[in-house]
């Protein structure tokens, strides 16, 4: 093969390689990252809606679950858990609520993002119902009791006796109205 032709081949292959890495960075890395976080519980992200199966309740163990609320940046709502903490048995479905109050005079939409500590037990924290699965719209001045129903997996590693579940609420009013951002 002539040198020119060999050079052309190298250029084509390299450009494909470069383009491939670009696609990889934007379209493969984020989903792999999300998947990895789901599998390993990194960042304490608890999973999506869980369908409860019949499990025995482990009455020999008690786990304290503490609830924390946080407002991101200038999110002006009042947001707090109605209970500081509960003590539960693994396998036992438990319901608690977070109180939210839109104190402004505009309709707003929020998104609650969970984070569980210790991070690596996020896999064992199942939510059958959670206000964090969806946006939370609240009209001006409205209040709401946001529901969370969770079950701690009986296979929770030995030695873990307390977990802390935190929610951070973000103001996504603009984003919720923006069709492109919905992608």
């Amino acid at each position: 093969m002539s040198t020119d032709a060999s050079n052309r081949r190298v250029v084509v292959k390299s450009l494909f390689g470069a383009a491939g890495m670009f696609v990889f960075a934007i379209f493969v890395l984020p989903p792999i990252y999300d998947l990895f976080c789901e599998i390993t519980g990194l960042g304490g992200k608890t999973g999506d809606e869980y369908t409860a199966v019949d499990v025995r309740v482990d009455t020999s163990r008690e786990v304290r679950v503490r609830f924390v609320a946080s407002n991101n940046a200038s999110m002006p709502w009042i947001f707090k858990p109605t209970k500081d903490s509960v003590v539960v048995h693994p396998g036992e479905p438990t319901e608690i609520t977070y109180f939210a109050h839109n104190v402004t005079d505009e309709d707003m939409v929020s998104q609650a993002i969970p984070s569980l500590v210790p991070n690596n037990v996020a896999d064992y924290f199942h939510k059958t119902e959670c206000f964090c699965f969806e946006n939370q719209p609240l009209a001006a001045g409205d209040k709401a009791d946001l529901k969370l129903v969770f079950i701690i997996d009986p296979d929770l590693p030995v030695g873990v006796n307390s977990v802390t579940l935190s929610y951070t609420i973000f103001d996504i009013t603009d984003r919720a109205a923006d069709p492109i951002a919905q992608l």
Partner: protein, 381 residues
């Protein structure tokens, strides 16, 4: 030529030696520190121990390798008559210096692993503190106790910009330190309010990034009461160097007393909120709040920085309806660096600083903003 080079070298060397001494005459600093602190927790001690092991291993290897190299540079100089040999391969020696370092690394991995396991041992705490990084201060919340407060740099702008001499605790003092008891395991839940910060206390060996939207966990337990200073260790904007961490570890009885006082304070505060304040009282308090919490961006003279931070002097908000001015402080301004101060300043402080802004630098609105007005806005609608 050689003599000149030697003279130059020696004079530079003496400069290096003497300058630190000159420096210490100028700055009122403690003795120049050379090493990592051992700290007061198991984690900080583990970090120090593995750090020292690594220093020793690297020193021994370095002395050996560079020593050999300096010997070669001396013994095999052409000017000494050395004649070059021609070898350029030796499988045995190459295998040796591949395998031996690998073994050294494997051996070092063991203490490195046990040290890291200590860092991650955050389970079963006695006390949990939620730490939120803000631009540019920390918020501490004692979970389950209902105690929450901001901790801001106390050093004044005047000291920073050289208008006043620097105090002994320059950049190491805060409005309210984090107070902890000895002997209890404390878990820190760290998050960020706006951008990524990082909470670090060297004497605890704890450094956790404060990422908005998620919580990271660290822990500390110490038997040594004292004051421990730390820093923000993730670039977070202009105030990155100006949001230190100060922790006071107290004996248990003292800590319990402090905690009880803090709880009582919030109850007592609620009863003063209905009081009617005079303009003079509000101006005096407002000036202090302004310099502490607003002047960093909006400047002491109220002129802001054109294009970056708006002026309050002559501002339509400061000269407009009071309710709009309260709204800016309580709600923040979406899409800008002006955050909500509802969590960070009490109603009294917000009312005072609003009053100060509306009646300073030529702003002459003349109205009086009372803490109860601010509270009503927060609760209203």
């Amino acid at each position: 030529m050689l003599k000149r080079a030697q003279a130059l070298f020696l004079s530079l060397l003496s400069l290096v030696v003497l300058l630190p001494l000159a420096g210490s005459a100028l700055a009122e600093s403690t003795a120049s520190q050379l090493n990592m602190p051992q700290g007061v927790t198991e984690v900080s001690q583990a970090a120090y121990d593995i750090h020292m092991i690594m220093i020793w291993v690297c020193t021994v290897i370095g002395v050996g390798v560079f020593g050999f190299m300096f010997y070669v540079m001396y013994a095999h100089r052409k000017s000494r008559g050395a004649v070059a040999e021609n070898f350029h391969e030796h499988l045995g020696v190459e295998l040796l210096w591949t395998i031996v370092p690998t073994i050294i690394l494997i051996v070092m991995a063991f203490p490195a692993t046990t040290a890291l396991l200590k860092v991650y041992d955050t389970d079963n705490p006695d006390i949990e503190i939620k730490i939120t990084g803000y631009q540019w201060k920390w918020q501490y919340e004692y979970l389950g106790e209902g105690v929450k407060f901001m901790s801001e740099l106390r050093t004044s702008d005047d000291e920073v910009y050289g208008r006043e001499p620097k105090g002994e605790h320059y950049l190491r003092e805060v409005t309210e330190p984090l107070v902890l008891p000895v002997g209890k395991k404390i878990r820190f839940l760290v998050t960020g309010n706006d951008v990524i910060h990082s909470w670090w206390v060297p004497d605890f060996g704890v450094k956790r990034d404060a990422v908005p939207g998620l919580f990271t966990a660290g822990w500390a337990k110490t038997d040594k009461p004292g004051t421990y200073v730390g820093e923000c260790t993730e670039l977070c904007g202009q105030g990155h160097a100006f949001m230190p961490v100060v922790v006071e570890v107290k004996e248990e009885a003292e800590y319990n007393e402090w905690l009880a006082n803090k709880k009582a304070e919030s109850v007592e505060y609620a009863s003063t909120i209905g009081k009617e304040w005079t303009s003079e009282e509000l101006m005096a308090k407002g000036e202090g709040v302004y310099l502490q919490s607003c002047a960093g961006c909006h400047q002491a003279d109220g002129n802001g920085i054109p294009g970056v931070f708006p002026a309050i002097k002559g501002s339509p908000i400061a000269l407009g309806p009071q309710i709009g001015h309260i709204a800016v402080l309580i709600d923040g301004v979406a899409g800008s660096a002006m955050q909500s101060f509802a969590d960070q300043l009490s109603e009294v402080n917000i009312a005072a600083v609003i009053h100060y802004q509306r009646n300073s630098w030529g702003n002459d609105v003349g109205d009086v903003t009372q803490p109860i007005d601010v509270l009503k806005y927060k609760q209203s609608k």
